[in-house]
Symmetry: C2
Subunit: 155 residues, 2 copies
């Protein structure tokens, strides 16, 4: 399997070796799996938002933060392999071509995202909703930074 420069960058960021590649997924499956990760993180972001706006449950927020960080740190770069830059049959993707050609910028937004997710886990464990609100805002900004640069708008 050809390992692209961008994927190596993303794996390096996540502290993972090429061993992560051993579980090869077909390109369409890579697209579906990365989208599954984002969907599950999105649900957990919504839960944290709802907790900050309503009754705050530390257990619920911690659980959601851990889920997001677990996914963020799992080496999702391996899900942007060759052939995953455009739709495959019914499997659509909104990824921009730039994600595959701008490894340094991708690395920067990926690092920011992982760092923000890990920070949220730390403050969620301490339990101060104000600190969680700040960390949650920072995490949201790191999501948006990647969406703005590397995701197409919905048609």
């Amino acid at each position: 399997m050809k390992i692209t420069k961008i994927t190596v960058t993303l794996l390096t960021i996540a502290g993972l070796s090429a061993a992560a590649f051993a579980a090869n997924l077909e390109p369409a499956e890579q697209i579906e799996t990365r989208q599954a990760g984002y969907k599950f993180m999105s649900w957990n972001m919504k839960k944290i938002k709802a907790n900050l706006e309503g009754n705050y449950s530390q257990a619920a927020v911690q659980g959601a933060a851990n889920a997001i960080a677990g996914i963020a740190n799992s080496g999702m770069g391996a899900l942007y392999g060759p052939g995953t830059d455009k739709a495959i049959g019914d499997v659509q993707t909104r990824v921009k071509p730039e994600l595959f050609t701008e490894p340094e910028e991708v690395g920067r937004v990926a690092r920011d995202f992982i760092e923000a997710a890990n920070d949220l886990v730390e403050v969620a464990a301490l339990g101060d909703p104000d600190d969680v609100k700040t960390a949650f805002g920072d995490l949201g900004k790191s999501c948006k930074a990647c969406h703005d640069q590397f995701r197409m708008d919905k048609k």
Copy 2:
């Protein structure tokens, strides 16, 4: 919103209050989100299996174990709300009716699953592949126990 007995059971298992419900998702979105969680866990199970069968990377296995446990502990019971027991439009589900009528048994398999996922995180951090292999096997069995009882076969 009506909170079913089964959902309360699952939330209790995960140590979560009803606050987790604040982020209400529509039934179809609940089905898609739980399937996203399972898909992402499945990818991480495959990675661990590949590491156990090939070159073992502790970082990769830890990352995968943390992702699985993060998802497992995020209160997925909230994604089995009313109206999510059968297909909604194009959104299919293989859940069996029993999942909504046998809360005690669901609670048992859910507890086993969460415990096995947390055990895997612990041994993955210690880094002995033999221990990881055992814990990984136990986790696989806990997945299968739920599939056998509460998931329909593929058509």
